[in-house]
């Protein structure tokens, strides 16, 4: 898993590259928490265009980050999910917490 990020117009853009499963979950969780701890943005967009694989462990990671940011009133949006990730998001209702940006 590789995580790239940038802040533009008070939006934190995060690009997840690789595979999000149990093996990469701890690293992903820690890296996102470090990025999300910074005060210089008011909205987060997680771009999944380079995420090759995700299972339900990834859902747990994303919901955990949502809970952290909810306390700070910072919304998280999902961009460019694969059709496979989309299937899991719809099944778990993740879009009700993190809407998809079209």
């Amino acid at each position: 898993m590789q995580i790239k990020s940038r802040v533009h117009n008070e939006i934190l853009y995060v690009l997840l590259c690789g595979e999000l499963d149990e093996h990469s979950a701890t690293y992903t969780r820690m890296t996102l928490d470090e990025l999300f701890d910074k005060p210089n943005f008011r909205k987060i967009i997680i771009d999944l265009s380079e995420l090759d694989f995700m299972d339900s462990t990834g859902i747990g990671v994303l919901i955990g980050r949502y809970k952290h940011m909810k306390d700070r009133n910072i919304p998280i949006f999902i961009a460019n999910p694969s059709s496979h990730a989309e299937k899991i998001f719809k099944m778990t209702g993740l879009y009700s917490l993190m809407p998809k940006i079209v």
């Binding site: 299972d55 339900s56 462990t57 059709s83 496979h84 899991i88 099944m91």
Partner: protein, 148 residues
């Protein structure tokens, strides 16, 4: 005559082996000419089953084995993932959507739901000597390409 083939591998219940398990089954299933979506569904179900072994089967630091078997019968794929761990106390509860025995660990509790959604059938057998998950999926036969 029925087409029949199988493979079986055993590996340690470590998360680093999840990717190996996924790729192993996907590579083996390619001989049935599945679609990309079908392969992704199978890989995801395998990942969920192996993750359960890694996270739940061996609660102590000593990790045991996971055996991954894949059987092909004509257009039917059967994946069997088994461990020799502590077993699942209540299988019905474990299969409920959003149920997790480790809520503090940020688990979604959707592993079995994902397996059931992506495969045609999922059976779970468990006792205090281990757990076996057996999943099947029928591969749609690709339409024949007309030549000439």
């Amino acid at each position: 005559m029925k087409y029949s083939n199988f493979m079986e591998v055993t590996f340690k219940a470590l998360s680093v082996n999840e990717g190996f398990a996924r790729v192993c089954v996907a590579s083996f299933c390619v001989q049935l000419n599945p679609s990309v979506d079908e392969i992704t569904d199978i890989k995801t179900a395998v990942s969920e089953a192996v993750t359960n072994c890694v996270v739940h089967a061996y609660p102590t630091s000593v990790k045991g084995d996971v055996t991954l078997r894949c059987e092909l019968e004509d257009d039917m794929v059967t994946v069997i993932v088994s461990d020799k761990g502590v077993g699942i106390k209540d299988i019905s509860k474990a299969r409920e959507p959003f149920y997790t025995s480790k809520p503090s660990a940020e688990r979604s509790g959707m592993g079995f739901t994902v397996m059931e959604s992506f495969m045609d059938d999922v059976q779970v057998f468990s006792n205090s000597f281990g757990t076996t998950v057996k999943m099947t999926k029928k591969i749609a036969v690709a339409p024949a390409v007309k030549v000439g």
